[in-house]
């Protein structure tokens, strides 16, 4: 894995000519065609498969081919869609999935690719692009809500760039427990906390006036929000014991499974964008055993989430997306692994506004090249944005004075939208 930290990632400079070139081949954008369709989804849950999952061993199996690997492919509830044998639960719910097999990009470097898929732009030192979660928080989030609108469970996700840290993700390191530091420390009851808070507020007010710096006011806002979070009954969103044993069991006894359950609870209570992080897909070594293990975690969690959302009549209004930053090589290396392969990979969507049981695009017989309906990450994000009610063509001014839209010229994909 590359060592570029979050803060240095933004500094890498490139401008991709690929985007401009590709745009000419894409179908005309829905958004540009006229009025934006009414939002189908009130919230989005992104299942982030970190590391670049092997599309060949999961969503785009090529059994029988020399580089197809040992896994079999199984029929699913969606005619014409076969999945890896290690996704049986998902296969039974494939009639709800839209599977895009023709994702393709040029970024084979982890942080750059992760940035690209989260923001729809290649990294560029002159502007910090907001992730889709950041856009959702800024444009759809309710600033008076006690719960954060954009939550990331188990991983850092990507921030809101120039839209500000207040629109960035609230990071929950581990699902199943309340967020850290939301309880008062021992010895401090509500009354004492109030006395402290009042003293702090007046001290900060004086300091703000003395320095005349907006940072102090910004900080006081954040503190007020933090205190609201501490005191809201909606904090039970993070408490999985509020759900029955059978529901919890359906998601699987894993951090990721619990994370998906918490995502559902958050969405129920008004969150707009929740990302759940599953790491470990960067299988340069021992690809098959490791990917199989990961699918053992992903399968029940993804299936459980779809079932749970459906049972609560939330599936129609919740967009669920599942993807990583690139695919993996058909060639199997000397360590029984597969290496990075951005040229072809898969993404799966379900829920609000998504046409289920559909396969969009295809790769060649070995999964090396896209042979139909090439799709860029910006197009996928434009689809998701449109379904959430965000106009992909809407722009905000970056601090450097450039108008930045939700994706780098992405066009929504009508074939997977209802």
């Amino acid at each position: 894995m590359d060592d570029l930290s979050r803060r240095t990632l933004i500094r890498v400079g490139v401008s991709s000519a690929f985007g401009a070139l590709a745009a000419r081949f894409l179908a005309p954008s829905l958004a540009r065609a006229g009025a934006l369709p009414a939002p189908k989804a009130h919230a989005c849950i992104l299942l982030w498969l970190n590391g670049g999952p092997s599309h060949l061993d999961t969503f785009d199996p090529k059994p029988g081919r020399p580089t197809g690997g040992p896994f079999k492919a199984i029929k699913t509830r969606a005619p014409g869609m076969m999945l890896s044998e290690h996704l049986p639960l998902l296969s039974e719910r494939a009639d709800k999935l839209a599977l895009v097999r023709s994702m393709s990009s040029k970024e084979g470097n982890h942080p750059r690719a992760q940035y690209y898929v989260h923001t729809g732009y290649a990294p560029n030192p002159t502007v910090a692009h907001p992730s889709l979660g950041g856009w959702a928080c800024a444009r759809l989030g309710d600033p008076t809500s006690e719960l954060p609108a954009f939550v990331s469970i188990g991983g850092p996700s990507f921030g809101a760039g120039f839209l500000g840290v207040q629109n960035g993700p609230f990071v929950l390191q581990k699902a199943g427990a309340p967020p850290a530091d939301t309880n008062l420390p021992p010895g401090v009851d509500r009354a004492r906390f109030e006395r402290r808070r009042a003293a702090l507020d007046s001290a900060d007010e004086r300091f703000a006036r003395a320095t005349g710096d907006a940072k102090v006011d910004g900080r006081r806002d954040v503190y007020a929000k933090a205190i609201r979070l501490m005191q809201t009954p909606k904090l039970d969103a993070f408490d999985v014991s509020g759900d029955s044993e059978s529901v919890r069991r359906a998601y699987g006894d894993t951090d990721f499974g619990r994370g998906c359950l918490v995502a559902r609870r958050l969405v129920e209570r008004g969150a707009k964008f929740v990302e759940v992080f599953l790491d470990g897909w960067d299988t340069h070594q021992n690809n098959f055993e490791r990917t199989k293990g990961l699918m053992g975690t992903l399968d029940p969690a993804f299936a459980g989430l779809l079932d749970d959302l459906a049972a609560r009549r939330l599936l129609g209004s919740t967009l669920v997306a599942c993807m990583g930053e690139f695919g993996r090589t058909p060639h199997i290396n000397a360590n029984d692994g597969r290496d990075h392969w951005p040229q072809a990979w898969s993404a799966a969507l379900a829920g609000g506004g998504i046409r289920g049981g559909v396969v969009h695009g295809a790769t060649d017989e070995d999964g090396a090249k896209v042979v139909g309906a090439p799709t860029r990450a910006p197009d996928l994000l434009a689809t998701m944005a449109t379904l959430l009610g965000l106009d992909p063509a809407h722009t905000e001014m970056s601090p450097a004075g450039r108008p930045i839209s939700v994706t780098d010229d992405g066009a929504p994909i009508p074939a997977i939208m209802t």
């Binding site: 930290s5 609230f170 581990k174 006395r195 710096d213 102090v216 900080r219 360590n335």
Partner: protein, 618 residues
């Protein structure tokens, strides 16, 4: 500037003793130490002084029609300099002594700069800084001994090894990575222990990139030269002149190491795997298996400007020589730019590691002058710090002038006003530890391991407070979890409890009235004295608190609150997440927190440590 070493031996000894206390090491009992020997410092009259720098900046301000803000007051300046040079706040004794010196004394600040730079904390702080730049947090490989790396770094910094030599050692390191101790301990080791005799900690940097020479080349170029080339990994750079071939030739220079596993039979469980790194006279065979590295492996190693780096096993040495050569246009500039950005809030070139033809930067002549000076000084990091910190520019107030008189730089690039910024995670943690004497509290429990506590707390703070200083926003860079950590988190809670060993217990134990105690707490937390208004407000707060109906003293930690118990249980169930070692420590203050008055002092201290004034560098 040569007044740097005019400080009395006693002051140095006190400083060293205080610093030693901070680190949990017994202060030297020998007679007062003599002042540290002068570094390869400003003995040549042709080296730059702070006044030279100021003159150039003043010219730039005048040309732009920009007005600098007023000078910062002594207390503000002192705190700022300590934070920026040593990574923590000044101990109260230092503040009191500095403020007691006459206001108008011109040599006062330059003497203090000399003291600061001579402090053993210099090595501690800059070890953490360069460790973050070069190694970062990702040292999870079983064959990386992070502690050994930090020990090497601490050693070269403490011995004032020239920066060019430090970088040379980094790039050409050979030898054994570790003596094979427990990996956990190596992570916790902050580097102040001596390096093992047979170990060259510097090789751990090479080991970090043992499978990714392109990343190593990209990182080396970015951190050492300020040049971003890693996008040329996959295709020709779109806006700058680097081609993919250039990149491959450069990356080829980073493939000339052979790794010899010393624990081939298997290392003991949980121990660092021992590896020896040796030079190789061709691209290492381990890269042959990696398909995407084939073109790189077969390329002739060349520097970024096309200089041939030779053949045989001298390539790494040739690379280091090219990087650190005085003629290298980037090396000195990158360092000077980085340091200027560290102290003044924004580099000449911004971002500091993005030198490009299309990004010429502000006042490049000043940067060039500092770069030449840095080379002439023998790549002396202390000299550079002394020059920058001694400027009037560094001493600007963060407060704006009245609107009528001030014209600020509309692009906010000219440093005419000090830039308020949140403390980084290491600084914030160290400031909290210094202010509260958290180390002493932990030691006084007699059962917690100080190194472990520091490591776990540091990990948590590193994650929470790693600010993305990406955007040039005037807004605050702060998140809800950061606010929660300070509001309710265990470091602030433990530190502001009147526990044995704590700063608060010390202050309350001293004689003196409320005013004296309020002053003492302000000195510890905010490194200044309170205004008369602040004293009277807090005195009133204390009176009000005692008038409160006596709230029942909560039971000690034996019965933690139900939510906490459930949370702790949840934490123990999961793997890999250690419980907070400071949990419930603050509950043990039960007996000592007997009176409302004592609790009110805890509230006061807590408020100061949660205030913006504490958490920001201003």
């Amino acid at each position: 500037m040569s007044a740097a070493f005019g400080t009395t031996a006693t002051a140095i000894a006190t400083l060293l003793a205080l610093a030693a206390c901070d680190r949990g090491v017994a202060p030297p009992s020998a007679p007062p130490l003599t002042p540290a020997p002068p570094t390869a410092g400003p003995t040549k009259p042709s080296l730059l002084t702070s006044a030279d720098v100021d003159a150039r900046l003043e010219a730039a301000w005048k040309a732009a029609g920009v007005t600098p803000t007023a000078p910062a007051d002594d207390a503000t300046w002192l705190r700022r300099a300590w934070l920026d040079v040593l990574g923590t706040i000044p101990p109260p004794e230092v503040t009191v002594r500095f403020l007691a010196q006459p206001q108008g004394d011109p040599a006062k600040r330059s003497r203090m700069i000399g003291e600061i730079i001579a402090s053993p904390r210099w090595a501690d702080h800059w070890t953490a800084y360069w460790d973050d730049v070069w190694m970062g947090n990702d040292a999870r490989r079983p064959d990386i001994d992070h502690g050994a790396f930090r020990s090497w770094l601490h050693d070269v910094l403490a011995r004032d090894v020239p920066y060019s030599e430090i970088v040379t050692q980094l790039l050409t390191a050979t030898g054994q990575n570790s003596d094979g101790g427990p990996k956990r301990e190596s992570e916790e080791n902050e580097g102040s222990g001596p390096p093992g005799a047979s170990v060259n900690g510097a090789v751990n940097w090479t080991l970090k990139y043992q499978e990714t020479p392109q990343d190593m080349a990209g990182t080396a170029s970015r951190t050492l030269l300020g040049v971003q080339v890693q996008c040329a990994q996959c295709h020709d750079h779109k806006t700058e002149k680097w081609t993919q071939k250039d990149f491959q030739s450069f990356a080829a220079a980073f493939m000339r190491t052979r790794l010899v596993q010393l624990d081939a039979g298997g290392a003991p469980k949980g121990a660092v795997k021992r590896v020896e790194v040796r030079n190789l006279d061709r691209s290492a065979p381990r890269f042959a298996k990696m398909g995407d590295l084939a073109p790189v492996a077969s390329a002739e190693p060349k520097a970024l400007d096309g200089t041939d780096l030779g053949a045989g096993d001298g390539v790494r040495v040739a690379l280091a020589r090219w990087v650190t050569a005085p003629e290298n246009p980037w090396f000195a500039r990158a360092l000077v730019n980085r340091m200027w950005g560290h102290f003044l809030g924004r580099g000449f070139v911004d971002p500091v590691d993005d030198f490009r033809a299309s990004n010429p930067g502000t006042t490049p002549e000043l940067m060039d002058a500092l770069a030449s000076d840095f080379v002439a000084s023998g790549y002396d990091l202390k000299h550079l710090a002394r020059v920058i910190v001694g400027t009037e520019a560094y001493a600007r107030s963060a407060a704006p002038l009245d609107d009528a008189t001030q014209k600020a730089d509309p692009e906010a690039k000219l440093w005419e006003r000090f830039r308020v910024a949140p403390l980084g995670p290491d600084e914030l943690l160290d400031a909290l530890v210094t202010a509260t004497k958290l180390d002493a509290i932990v030691r006084a429990t007699g059962r917690l391991d100080l190194a472990q506590v520091r490591f776990r707390v540091r990990e948590r703070y590193g994650f929470l407070f790693d600010v993305d200083d990406v955007t040039d926003q005037s807004g605050y860079e702060g998140t809800i979890p950061q606010a929660l950590a300070l509001l309710n988190g265990s470091v602030a809670a433990t530190g502001t409890s009147v526990l044995p060993g704590s700063a608060l217990a010390e202050v309350l134990g001293e004689g003196g009235d409320d005013k004296a105690k309020i002053e003492a707490l302000y000195l510890r937390a905010l490194s200044r004295l309170p205004t008369p208004d602040e004293v009277s407000r807090w005195a009133q707060f204390l009176v009000d608190a005692q008038a409160q109906p006596e709230a029942p003293v909560p039971p000690p930690a034996a019965s933690p609150q139900p939510e906490r118990a459930r949370r702790d249980k949840a934490q123990k169930r999961g793997k890999g997440q250690q419980p907070d070692p400071l949990t419930n420590l603050e509950g043990r203050a039960g007996n000592m927190r007997a009176t409302a008055r004592v609790r009110a002092y805890e509230d006061l201290f807590w408020t100061l440590l949660n205030s913006s004034e504490f958490v920001l560098n201003h």
